[in-house]
């Protein structure tokens, strides 16, 4: 102690400052955790979850929470760590660092409880091909302890929801891809779980089947907590109430699909389609508008031209200009404001 004082007083001060900030930090994170725990509807909380495969870091410091009633979309490029995260939440893989709580149960301390709570559809929906659909579902029911009258009704419920009634006696390996995926879903929901984790549930399905699966998810979303991963961004807009984007194992964005869209570059841009008359003047006025970032022009044929306008501010002064132009000889055919695009935002944050 003494030689710190005598040798380098500054060093001591710096050290004090350091521990003080550390203390503040830990306090604030503690506070955050308490707040999360207070909320009884929080079903999943991950805390600095990480996983390495050898020297490769698949998931790093991932923290997020999901509540009941939420449908959380997991987005990210291939190999970003989506599946790895799901495998950790379902206790298939153990995390290299951090942990997670599922409905209050720690994935490290009580994996069996967590597995009991979760319904999980693994990537590519692996199934025992030599079994019939009914045998397979009965197997899952037996493991999950569903039997008797309640077992029969839950079997009926999940078969009805996934429309598997006609193929119950067929061997799984003889089924088409869409049916196999539905069998995977049926086993995931057979115990009416409060938490559903679906790894690319619509991958490889035709548009009708995709629609069916989305409808199913929407139907169940009210009282459950659902996490699904997907590469199809429209799907996120359609079914997810919230989305997180993971890139290189790290969380890069967390918000609603609308928020993401509004943050993309094209959000707030204006599409303007005009007729032939006064095109040159229109072009000149638009390009000369103060605070215009960019004007793209595209000929649509039959004399129509589409302008994409990127104003710097969204204060509406551009609209004033456009309505003024309308009174001239130009003919405005359509006018719309872009909400922004999810794929643009996705590319921006993951590249």
């Amino acid at each position: 102690m003494e030689d710190i004082f005598s040798k380098d007083g500054l060093f001591f001060l710096r050290k004090l400052w350091h521990s003080w900030t550390l203390c503040l930090q830990s306090k604030s994170s503690l506070f955050k955790e308490e707040k999360l725990l207070e909320n009884i509807d929080t079903m999943i909380v991950t805390n600095a979850l990480g996983r390495n495969f050898g020297s490769i870091c698949a998931v790093k410091d991932l923290s997020f929470a999901v509540e009941r009633g939420e449908v959380l979309g997991f987005l990210g490029p291939n190999g970003a760590g989506k599946s790895t995260t799901m495998k950790m939440l379902t206790c298939f893989l153990s995390p290299s660092s951090g942990t997670a709580k599922v409905d209050g149960f720690d994935i490290l301390d009580s994996p069996q409880e967590v597995r009991r709570l979760i319904g999980y559809l693994p990537e590519n929906a692996p199934l025992y091909g030599e079994m019939t659909v009914l045998e397979f579902l009965r197997f899952v029911m037996e493991v999950r302890g569903l039997s008797g009258e309640s077992g029969r009704s839950s079997l009926k419920r999940s078969v009805d929801l996934t429309s598997l009634g006609d193929v119950l006696g067929q061997k799984i390996e003889t089924l088409s891809k869409g049916f196999k995926r539905r069998v995977g879903l049926a086993q995931a929901i057979i115990h009416d779980p409060e938490i559903l984790i679906l790894d690319e549930p619509t991958d490889g399905l035709d548009p009708n089947q995709k629609f069916e699966v989305r409808r199913l998810i929407e139907e169940m979303s009210d009282d459950k907590c659902i996490i699904l991963s997907t590469h199809i961004l429209e799907e996120v807009e359609e079914v997810c109430s919230r989305a997180i984007i993971i890139s290189n194992g790290q969380l890069v964005a967390d918000g609603t699909p609308e928020e993401f869209k509004s943050k993309s570059a094209s959000a707030g841009s204006i599409s303007l389609t005009v007729g032939e008359g006064g095109l040159a003047k229109m072009r000149e006025r638009l390009n000369g508008f103060p605070g215009m970032k960019k004007v793209n022009e595209k000929s649509l044929g039959s004399g129509q031209t589409k302008f994409s306008l990127y104003p710097e501010s969204k204060d509406g002064s551009l609209f004033a200009l456009i309505s003024e132009l309308k009174n001239d000889e130009s003919k405005i055919i359509s006018l719309s404001v872009e909400d922004g695009r999810l794929d643009e935002f996705f590319r921006e944050v993951t590249k």
């Binding site: 495998k87 206790c91 298939f92 693994p122 692996p126 025992y128």
Partner: protein, 246 residues
């Protein structure tokens, strides 16, 4: 110990043999081969003795190919098709799943042994054999099959390739047989000190199997087979736990 998850996996495994022609083919091959060895190589009739020694003599060699054929798929297939992810995200512990798979396969081999019963009736018809010896030999054969199987299931847990699983298991088991195979032991005696050869022979399958075939199931032989089984299963559990991800 017998939980519902264990029961479910055990039943699924056992019925899965009969869902495909595998079970019928396996049982047929096993019975034909054991009959062929007994009557052709074992000179069952010619030796004129009412015992089943020529029948049991060939069991280690029979198991050498038959058991890896059963064990090769047990985990390798689950890893290849990804169903292991399904299995281990259901409320099933590693221990339950592993022991259920092992016991189901062992029961299946036991069934094959039961189907060899006609040879017991035959030998009873021809003379009056020592039934105690025959019973002990069946117990020994079943225990030895379990040891083969446990090694096979451990190897299967290490790979997702069934061919590799089969070949490695066969080679390992071949070693365990050859260590007690007379021509090999005689050669070893010439190059190694006797105490070492004794230890090597002591670790082999035939040494303990033949001991039981004499009609006495001794504690040492029981400990030998059960420790091979338990150690192999333990290694298999470690391999599964650490290798689930690949």
């Amino acid at each position: 110990m017998i939980t519902r998850s264990f029961r479910a996996v055990f039943r699924r495994e056992l019925t899965s043999y009969f869902a495909t022609p595998v079970a019928i083919i396996f049982l047929t091959v096993f019975l034909i081969l054991s009959g062929f060895f007994t009557f052709k190589f074992g000179n069952f009739f010619e030796r004129g003795q009412a015992d089943l020694q020529p029948f049991f003599l060939w069991h280690p060699w029979l198991y050498l190919f038959i058991v890896p054929a059963i064990s090769m798929r047990l985990w390798a297939e689950e890893k290849k098709t990804g169903t292991i992810e399904l299995l281990f995200t259901l409320p099933i512990s590693l221990c339950e799943a592993l022991s259920a798979k092992f016991l189901a396969a062992w029961a299946f081999i036991g069934l094959a042994l039961v189907f060899t019963m006609p040879i017991v009736f035959t030998v009873n018809y021809l003379g009056s054999p020592d039934m105690g010896v025959i019973f002990a030999s069946y117990v020994g054969s079943f225990l030895m099959a379990g040891a083969f199987l446990a090694i096979g299931i451990a190897i299967s847990a290490m790979t997702n390739n069934q061919i590799i699983s089969f070949v490695v298991t066969t080679v390992l088991c071949l070693f365990l047989i050859l260590m007690g195979f007379e021509p090999v032991v005689l050669t070893l005696n010439e190059i190694l000190p006797v105490w070492l050869v004794d230890h090597i022979v002591n670790l082999s399958f035939p040494f303990h199997f033949e001991a039981i075939q004499r009609g006495v199931v001794e504690l040492g032989d029981l400990i030998y087979f059960s420790s091979v089984i338990l150690v192999s299963l333990y290694i298999g559990a470690i391999a599964l736990e650490s290798g689930k991800a690949d």
